[in-house]
Each structure stands twice: as structure tokens, then as C-alpha cells.
Symmetry: C2
């Protein structure tokens, strides 16, 4: 289970924090570290703070965007920023571990950490199917990045042990005939066709498309469709856009109208 | 509950770690930090890493010995070193939180962290009633001090919330007539009289007294006697040492002999 979990650090300012995160991950048996546009990396400070976990730094992939870093993931969880314009389903760290443990054995997971101080943007949050919030004292809730990684890595390890010990409801065994979970990139290619179709239909205001697309992304990220289901969504979109404009904006596309 | 928990850092080498620990404590609502013989403190690096938790550093008391730092505590828990000559009762971080939440509302607690790399000595471990061990990957189990503090502070907060929400069996209400828990210092004053008495009796080898005293300390630390019970122990010791030497080494002092 731990091999399927990637920790993604977005726009980290201090290379020492990257090293501390690598160490905390390795302590808990995690090894997949990805960096999105780090301010300084590689850096001697990162290596020094990594102590015995330099191997994670050496293997870390650096990406230009968060979407790239999670493209092959089926379940993306964001550590919560304080300000949000939408309510994401929010997990405690413990529930996150339990949720991951209950996923099918082939589901690949990303846990995403925003930049120090400012956290993830709403655009970045929109890539996630859920948020996780580490409980903290309201008077002083700004955790050091390494401390946040330490707590979530610890809960992942606890959940993995519980699963190994049979203490968690085992995820259903992977059926060879079952459709694999759709990846983030596959969903994005659907949205890339959905958005202009919605704009053409008048349902989406091209001057301000982002709020609606965020809600849609969030809905599907939460639902975590498999590839067959995504094919159905794409097929519906094709059918509706080829056979004339979709119905009125206020009517869900494809829903039978009641008269 | 969080107000009654002191975190004690023993012989910390790097002042930056002290700052990181203060921050992680304050994030979780803990405020009582004690330092035993830190290598460098106060230090600008500690203040920098503390970020918004400099108040904990300013209020931190510096002690010469661990015994001083825990003298007023009723329940002392040590983070485990790897090598130990005795088996301490070992808790997981989660069980530690639950154990603390179940203590009487007036019990004062210390959680003790050893020096980076080497951990606590057996003499220091002997002051503790229990050990806590953070689960880690066997290949790389050396946690950064700040990460260890973050995980245990987090579990303390979770347990405090569960207690506040009534999810933990509430500790029995403090009975005004009940005897308070004996403090560490009160137990030590008992051991200070017990050890020479045992040496005089021949039961304890003065050339190598430490192993036996460690076992005895551990027994009572686990039992956590209240003051009345400690008075009984002291009274027994007085009685036995005044009315002639205690009986044969192989017979427990005070136990009636069977004939």
C-alpha cells in the first residue's frame, strides 16, 4: 500500500523543508516524492536535512505543474488551505489513512502539500478529490511543512499496518476483468472537451468558466470513476454535441424532460 | 488536559530542533516545554525555527538533570531508545494519547525525548513509567526530533479532543478526599532511603546497584502510587529497618514467612 502513495510538494520555498519531508517519508516507509516548481532544488540544505533519505531526493521527479505530477493518479488528496471558495469533502488524517487502506489494491494515490505560508490555490485544490486537514490549535494552526508530512506519513503507515494485520475491511480483490480506475490525466482529457462544449451551449460563461469547472472536477474526483464509466461520460458528451445543441442550460444534459 | 502535559527535551544538540519542537507543540495546543542540558540555548536558530512559537521558548525552563525536569510529574513517558536492558511497557503513540486521556484530571504528565542519534540512557529510561515507540520503517527508523514531537503532540491533541467530546471513558472525577498521585520527587526520596537499606541487608550489591534499582523504579512508576500508598511504603521501610535487619535476601521484605 505504501508503494502506491506519492507525496507531492508544490512550490516549496525552503530546500531544508524538502529534505525534512524526504526523511519523514522514509521513516514511515514511503518513497515516492514529487516536486512541483520548487524554489531551489537540488540544494545542499535539502540533502543535509534529508539525513539518511538522500535516495528519495535523488529519485524525486520535478514537474512544472501539479496536473503533471498527479497525471497518473486515481485518487488525489490535498492538504487543506484555510481559504476555500468551495467546500471540499474534508478528512481527518486518520480517516485519510483508512480511506487509502480501503481503496482497491491497484489505486495510485497522491497527497499534495502546498507552498509554505500560502497553501494551495483554488485551481490546485480543484484537482483533488478530497482534502485532509490536520487538527491544530486555532490560535496557531500554521504547521511546518515537515511536521505536516510527518503526521500524514505516520497515519499512512498506521493504516497500512492495520490493513496488513487484517484490521481494516480489506479492499475488494482486484478483478482481472474489472475496469481500472481512470487516471487524473484521462479525466482531464474529458474536461478539455467538456468545457468548450458547455461554453458553446451557453451553460458555461466563457468569461468566468472556472467556478463551474471546479465544481464538475470536484464531483468526478470524488466519484473516482473507472475507465468504463469515463468512456460512458465521453460517449454521452460525443452524442450530445453531435446531435445538435444540448437542451436548455437549466436542464441537466441527457436527463429526460418531464412534461 | 493539554495544559497538564510537559514535553522534555534531553541534551538536544541542535538548537534548530528545539525551535521546531516548540512550533509543533504550539500547533497542537501544548505549551509546557522543558529542556535538560541543551547544547546551545537560547540560540537564534531555535528562535528562527520556532516561527510563531517563540513564547514557548521564552517560557521554557532549563534543568540540569532529567530528574529535576520531571520532579513534579505523576506520569513520565519516555520515547524509546532502541537499546534497552529492561523491557519497559511500550505504548504506541495512539495508546499514549488514550492513556493520558484516561488519567485523573489532576495528574501531571511528562513526555521525554532523548538526544538526537543516541536517545535516552538506561538511567533516564528508569525514571519513566512507560515507553512510547513511534512506528517506523525498520530500514530507516531514526526520526528527526521535530517529527517525533509533531507525531506525539498530534496524538495528544486527538486524545484531548476525544476526551472533550466524551468519546473516551472519562477519568473518574477528582475526589476532594482522594489522595493525590505521588510525584516523581516523592518517589525518589523513597528510593534514596530504600537503596542503602537494601545494600545494608545484603539484598543489593553495592558494587552494582543499578539494575535492581531500575527494576524497582520501573515497578512503582508503572503502579503510579498515590501519596497514601507511598506513605505506606515508607512506613514499611521504616519499620523493617528499625526493628533489625530485614529477613533473608530471597524473602520479600515484610512478607510473612510460611512455616
Amino acid at each position: 500500500m505504501l508503494d502506491r502513495i506519492r507525496f507531492v510538494l508544490v512550490a516549496t520555498s525552503h530546500p531544508g523543508n524538502i529534505g525534512a519531508c524526504a526523511r519523514a517519508m522514509k521513516n514511515m516507509g514511503l518513497s515516492d516524492l514529487a516536486l512541483v516548481a520548487p524554489a531551489r532544488f537540488p540544494d545542499p540544505e535539502a540533502s543535509a536535512r534529508a539525513a539518511g533519505a538522500e535516495d528519495l531526493l535523488a529519485a524525486a521527479r520535478v514537474h512544472a505543474t501539479l496536473a503533471d505530477a498527479v497525471a497518473d493518479r486515481a485518487f488525489v488528496v490535498a492538504t487543506s488551505a484555510r481559504r476555500r471558495s468551495l467546500d471540499w469533502p474534508t478528512l481527518t488524517p486518520r480517516l485519510l489513512g483508512e480511506r487509502i487502506a480501503a481503496l482497491p489494491a491497484d489505486a495510485r494515490i497522491a497527497v499534495v502539500f502546498g507552498p509554505e505560508r500560502i497553501g494551495l490555490s483554488n485551481e490546485e485544490l480543484a484537482l483533488a478529490g478530497a482534502c485532509v486537514e490536520i487538527p491544530a490549535a486555532p490560535e496557531y494552526s500554521s504547521l511546518n511543512l515537515g511536521a505536516a508530512v510527518a503526521v500524514l506519513a505516520y497515519e499512512c503507515r498506521i493504516a497500512a499496518s492495520a490493513r496488513a494485520d487484517g484490521l481494516v475491511d480489506a479492499a475488494p480483490p482486484v478483478d482481472a476483468d474489472a475496469s481500472p480506475a481512470a487516471t487524473h490525466a484521462e479525466l482531464e482529457s474529458y474536461y478539455a472537451r467538456l468545457e468548450p462544449a458547455l461554453a458553446r451551449s451557453g451553460f458555461l460563461d466563457p468569461a468566468n468558466p472556472r467556478h463551474l469547472m471546479r465544481r464538475i472536477r470536484r464531483l468526478y474526483a470524488r466519484a473516482a470513476p473507472d475507465r468504463d464509466e469515463l468512456n460512458i461520460l465521453q460517449g454521452m458528451l460525443n452524442a450530445l454535441t453531435q446531435h445538435g445543441e444540448p437542451s436548455e442550460p437549466s436542464t441537466p444534459a441527457g436527463a429526460p424532460e418531464r412534461r
